[in-house]
Amino acid sequence: MWHALRENYWAVILAVVLHIVLVAVLIVSLVGTPPPLPDGGVKVIKAVSVDEGQVKAEMKKLRSAEQRKQQQEAERQQRLQAEASKAEQARKREEQRLAELRRKRTEEQKQLKIQQQERAAQAKAEQAQQAKLKQQQAAEQKRLAEIQKKNQQEKERLAKLQAQQQELERKHKAELKRAQEAEAKRKAAELKRKQEAEAKRKLEAKKRIEAARRAREEAEAKAALQKQMDAEAAQMQAQRQRQLATLKQQYMSAIASRVENNWLRDPGIPKGTTCQVDVQQAPGGFVISAQASNCTGGGVAMERSVETAVMKSSPLPRAPDPDVFDREIRFTFTVE
């Protein structure tokens, strides 16, 4: 409460002052001269002839009005004065309360000083006590030192024994530690491996899902692209197909020529013998695998000759256009 008041102390004063100023302003504005006419804003009143009676009545009316007005004003002044004295009273009460508060605070500070002095005295007494204790401790330490001195030899002997013991223990522990470490390592490695395998599995699963998603997206994208194609595109495509067909033909005969040059076959293989070779190539034409199958004769000699012919031709001629390239090639070898 004290704290709140102290914080609002000046606000209260300000509020009172503000009220006084406001009242004063109000009084001045009511009593003062009427506001001046604006410059150049002279209002020309056209003279109009009126009769006297009428004017007198009018004047009388105006005067009574004036009187009523003055009376109202006087009443209002009275009201204001009453309010002002009320405010004055409130202010005085407030001041009294504040003075009371100040008095109380001074009283409290006096109390505090007394307490501090008491505490200082107490501290002095404690210090004396502590000094005394210190002296006792010193004496005790001296005694202990003597005991320690006496025990020193015993301790050294024990220390020696302990050192030996510790050495043994240390060695034992080191061994144990090594074994534990090895075990831990092994376990860690196994764990790691398992974790890695698991991680790999998860990654692969993720990859698969991702690949599937991509494939789906790709497919959808392509389907969309497909839809966009109009007749013009179709025509372009036909042209492109014709071009690709030519390129493909060139590509295939380049491969055939190369492989034929590398096909060294046993003359004992009968004419008409055929063999199929399925080949996988990398984009650079490098042959990854060549597998003979469905041979109609010639045995191992035929199979080896056709597989070797392809392997020897690696890298195969490059595709003239990426679109005629194919990872898989199926050769049919025929002895003629």
């Binding site: 692209l225 194609m229 495509q237 492109r240 055939a256 080896r304 020897k312 199926r330 070898f333 025929t334």
Partner: protein, 450 residues
């Protein structure tokens, strides 16, 4: 799923810009040309790892000669080698690839206890591509087709070399090699004491000959028993022909036929129990085919014709005999059931076809084929009737198939002297065999003996 497929079909049919022909079709390429020839192979001379002098027999040289003789391999001359590795780990395959060889053999001969040897060798396919199981393996392990360590007694290095040749041949051709088999033949030498005939048995390459019999009178027509343990032959000892069977291991022999007139052309049946032969004691000296039961000595007559019927040979299934007969005027080949019956003529090409030899698979018949006054070896394909002349000599005779059917050994005349030669069944490769001096004739290629 089906919906998705249906959505895809137009894309497949039309082929989008990004989906041109390449996406689904496999490229299909026809190969018909190519080059006929032997498989190019390099055999690096095997390293002798012992401290003393190397063994007298050069194993890698014997293997090289064996493979070259078949005509199915082209051996790279060692002067062209870029390196001389002796084990797989030492091989740089790029070097061999650049030399154009398909296969490579490396090896070493190590000394073993008691003067014996250990021959190690590895065969590589230079072009063998790694498969899924090969990940992480060194190149030489991926490309190795065979690798063996063969123990060999001191005097058996040639045999070991032939054994290695057999392994390599089997790996590279799929067929059993016949390098470890033996051949029998007759030699004739003329000296101060007159003419000496000798029956000999040697390795298939003509090395390592052993004499089985010698005589101042003619020896003829050696024929192997199917198990390779005995030889039947004709000997004129005593001035008259008789047929003997001689055990090669013990030397013991039996006279199985010494009838009046001809006792000739013995031919062992595939089951080893019978001997087909030519006898002329019947019908006033007319040669006919008979079959002699070796256990009972019972004789069964097969042919009845006033012409010369001789040179019987068994089909590999033992069910029929093919023989030479001039019943049509000149000698031609006829086939008859082994139990007898009406013979059927097989040859119609030319005026002279005689002395048939069946290929081991029974599909081919090799023979002496006369063209005017020259005689060559020809082969008749019994299934297709295709007739091919394989040799270009003037006096070629006595064809005999290798037990694996890959080659035909025959007798020919070279520089006025009878020698043996081998021809591949396709007739492409002919090679004379290395033999000693004197006339050599009537080769008979022995069977597989294991």
């Amino acid at each position: 799923m089906l919906n998705r497929m249906i959505r895809w079909i137009p894309a497949l049919l039309c082929g989008g810009l990004l989906w041109s022909a390449s996406a689904y079709a496999v490229l299909e390429i026809q190969i018909t040309q190519g080059i006929e020839g032997g498989v190019p192979i390099a055999i690096v001379p095997f390293k002798w790892t012992g401290s003393g002098a190397p063994p007298g027999q050069d194993v890698s040289a014997i293997v090289s000669a064996d493979l070259a003789r078949t005509g199915r391999f082209k051996l790279l001359a060692s002067k062209n080698f870029l390196e001389r590795p002796h084990s797989g780990a030492e091989v740089n395959f790029e070097n061999w690839r650049s030399l154009g060889v398909d296969d490579l053999v490396v090896g070493q001969v190590r000394p073993a206890a008691g003067g014996a040897y250990n021959v190690q060798f590895q065969l590589f396919d230079i072009y063998k591509a790694p498969t899924g199981q090969d990940i992480g393996k060194p190149d030489y392990q991926i490309k190795q087709l065979a690798g063996y360590s063969v123990p060999s007694r001191a005097n058996e290095l040639r045999r070991t070399a032939h054994y290695i040749s057999d392994i390599i041949y089997k790996q590279l051709t799929g067929q059993r090699g016949a390098f470890s088999t033996r051949i029998a033949y007759i030699t004739v030498t003329h000296g101060r004491k007159g003419t000496l005939y000798s029956l000999q048995v040697a390795d298939a390459d003509g090395y390592n000959p052993h004499e089985v019999l010698n005589s101042p009178a003619p020896i003829m027509s050696p024929s192997w028993s199917p198990d390779g343990s005995k030889l039947a032959y004709v000997s004129f000892e005593g001035g008259r022909p008789a047929i003997y069977i001689q055990d090669l291991a013990t030397g013991a022999r039996q006279k199985v036929s010494a009838r009046k007139g001809i006792n000739g052309a013995p031919a062992w049946s595939p089951d080893g129990k019978q001997l087909a032969l030519t006898l002329s004691y019947v019908d006033q000296g007319n040669p006919e085919i008979f079959v002699l039961n070796l256990a009972t000595h019972a004789l069964r007559r097969i042919t009845y014709n006033s012409a010369i019927d001789t040179e019987p040979t068994w089909s590999p299934d033992g069910k029929s005999l093919v023989f030479t007969s001039d019943r049509s005027g000149g000698p031609q080949l006829y086939q008859v059931d082994a139990s007898g019956g009406r013979p059927k003529r097989l040859t119609f090409d030319g005026s002279y076809n005689a002395r048939a030899a069946f290929s081991p698979d029974g599909k081919l018949l090799a023979m002496v084929h006369g063209e005017g006054k020259v005689f060559k070896i020809a082969v008749l394909d019994l299934k297709t009737g295709l007739f091919r002349v394989l040799t270009d000599g003037r006096e070629d005779e006595s064809p005999t198939f290798a037990p694996n059917g890959s080659m035909i050994l025959y007798a020919t005349v070279y520089k006025q002297r009878g020698v043996l030669a081998a021809v591949s069944v396709d007739g492409r490769v002919r090679q004379r065999l290395q033999l000693r001096d004197g006339e050599v004739r009537e080769p008979a290629w022995g069977p597989f003996t294991d």
